[in-house]
């Protein structure tokens, strides 16, 4: 068996050795996927220990508190955070207080934040990978169809008009943003509907144009706003991963999880689609239907995210390219790889956004205005160099 595998890797096997080579290929991807998944799990395990506050709640303290493991007073000796009265001795009450604190900071704040980053990262990367296949364009992202611009415009209008209330636990701004994003998608699909054959380039152009229009309208709304509203608008545009209230989280989840499932289910058809419309059709893929389903679920998922977190760029653009380098272009492997890497990428970016402001503040010796760097800034700082390097490589080869 060992011999046949070696032979097969060199690519000159007969039946048996060649099928062994196929198994080896699959296994190699499985190892890389598994490795990425393990890395992601490690990030999640460590996440209760990373945050803006320079407090001494470590990830292990948080996990012990959350899992109900006993933390003895001796273990907390010397912890300034637990020693509330400053007498150098940890009493039983102080220990109980620390457990509650560790649970709150570690899980209600940091872990919840990382979970949100995970969901957003998975969704944006999956949709990015899908759009790049769908439009046969390596620069396509979930935002290409003007979804982010539409969502932003919706939120801006809500801000300007003053719809700041909360309906059924969801902020009016989120609802308006979602409405704007979905509106743009429906308009794009309506434009594309005319022709029986939904050609991708036309759809792309329609989306880009509508996106530009929405951007112009955003400038208009900002121009006629007062200083206070302008400030809120600018903050929102920066993107944020602040933990959601449970109601908002409950709204996000049903919008994005179906997209994950649907995209994985159509991954085989997407492979065929990459061979060209005619070949895919002759193999039994309904190309029009595939395009509609993918654009539909990706748009809804992205709109839900834009509504909650503001526009977060570069995840959907960069991550699929990294995943492609790691596992190749078979969509059945590429999509899950993009999802895992996207989740990990955004968690790391979120950590960087929190830690960098703290570190910068400590270096400069004063408290900086905001506790976190906007997530969109970090994804751009990390994503743009990666993307340019990838582009450079592509030009070089």
């Amino acid at each position: 068996m060992g011999f046949s595998r070696v032979k097969a890797r060199r690519g000159r096997g007969n039946f048996v050795t060649a099928s062994a080579a196929n198994q080896v290929g699959m296994k190699r991807y499985a190892v890389r996927l598994g490795g990425a998944l393990a890395f992601l799990v490690l990030l999640l395990i460590a996440s209760p220990g990373v945050g803006t506050e320079s407090s001494s709640v470590g990830w292990w303290d948080a996990w012990r508190a959350q899992l109900g493991l006993t933390i003895s007073t001796e273990q907390l000796a010397g912890s300034a955070l637990a020693d509330l009265d400053g007498d150098g001795v940890i009493s039983g009450d102080e220990r109980d207080g620390f457990v509650v604190l560790a649970r709150t900071i570690g899980f209600s704040q940091r872990f919840a934040r990382s979970l949100l980053a995970l969901q957003v990262g998975i969704t944006l990367a999956l949709c990015g990978a899908t759009f790049q296949v769908l439009f046969r364009n390596p620069l396509a992202t979930p935002y290409t169809l003007g979804i982010a611009s539409g969502g932003s415009l919706g939120a801006l209008i809500a801000l300007r008009v003053g719809w700041m209330g909360v309906v059924a636990g969801v902020s009016m701004m989120s609802i308006a943003s979602f409405g704007g994003a979905v509106g743009v998608v429906l308009l794009v699909l309506f434009i594309a509907r005319g022709s029986r054959r939904l050609t991708s380039n036309e759809l792309l152009l329609a989306g880009v144009t509508l996106g530009l229009f929405c951007s112009a309208m955003m400038v208009f709304v900002t121009a006629i706003s007062n200083e206070r509203v302008t400030f809120v608008i600018v903050r929102w545009m920066m993107g944020s991963l602040d933990p959601l209230r449970s109601v908002e989280g409950a709204m996000l989840f049903p919008m994005i999880v179906p997209a994950w499932i649907v995209l994985m289910l159509v991954s085989r058809s997407l492979n065929q689609y990459r061979l060209g419309d005619e070949l895919a059709t002759s193999r039994g893929v309904n190309v029009l239907w595939l395009q509609l389903v993918c654009v539909g679920v990706c748009s809804l998922a992205t709109a839900a995210i834009v509504a909650q977190c503001g526009p977060i760029g570069f995840v959907g653009l960069v991550v699929p390219h990294i995943a492609g380098l790691l596992v190749g272009n078979d969509c059945r492997v590429l999509l899950p790889a993009s999802a895992i890497i996207g989740g990990a990428f955004l968690i790391l970016c979120d950590w960087a956004s929190q830690v960098s402001m703290r570190v910068a503040g400590e270096v400069m010796g004063r408290h900086l205005g905001s506790a976190t760097l906007p997530i969109g800034v970090v994804t751009a700082i990390v994503g743009v160099p990666i993307f340019l390097i990838l582009l450079r490589r592509r030009l070089g080869s």
Partner: protein, 266 residues
Amino acid sequence: MLQLDDVRFGFKSRPDFLGPVSLSVCPGECWAIVGPNGAGKSTLLRLMAGLHKPRSGRISLDGVKLSRVGVRGRAKRVAFMPQATSQSHDFNARELVLMGRFPHRSLGLFESAGDVAIAERAMTRTETLCFADRLVATLSGGEAQRVHLAAALAQEPGLLLLDEPTASLDLQHQISIFSILKETASRDDRAVVVVTHDVNLAANYCTHVLLLHEGKVVASGAPAEVLSPERLEPVYGVKLAEARVGDTEQRWVFPVSKRDADGGTS
């Protein structure tokens, strides 16, 4: 069996582009569709593949109207190899051939061992197994074309439709592709329809020939009858010479010069 009865087709700008065409393709037959550029060869092939719907007339597959067969069911029985194969060459040869198994799987993301075996049989047949793990983009035109042919064979269709599979290939690859097609028809008892510009290859390897000119069928039947210089000269507008090579019965046709309107040579 694929049956075409009085099939007509046209585009918005040219509503009477093609037809009427009547034809029946049976298992074991290898049909060549020949004719000048713009004669409607590829359009006819696409009609057979179900990629276009006929304006009038009827196309039926084993007695059932083609448009009623359903996309997945059609894909299991009819394989189509377009002229400009593959916009995406990011797959290696084995992956590309395995993708030909797509219509046969309903559940599960990955191919079964049976699919892998079928794909490898197709690759052995087309002599592509030796570069199974290379990216299709790195293969030569002839090698890539054989890989695409293997993918079509792996689809295990009753009817194999190919649009100019030997365009821009060298002599050796032309012969190799056509002998695979001939073998597929005669040995596996499948039906093959191939669009080609090479009348000599068609004459040598195909059992039947359909000659198209300006959307109309000029002649159809055995190669020796259809591909005579008398039939071909007015269609192509050239003067042709005919020769026998060695002591075979096979006649070869060569273009000699441009043909004048009155039929004489210039």
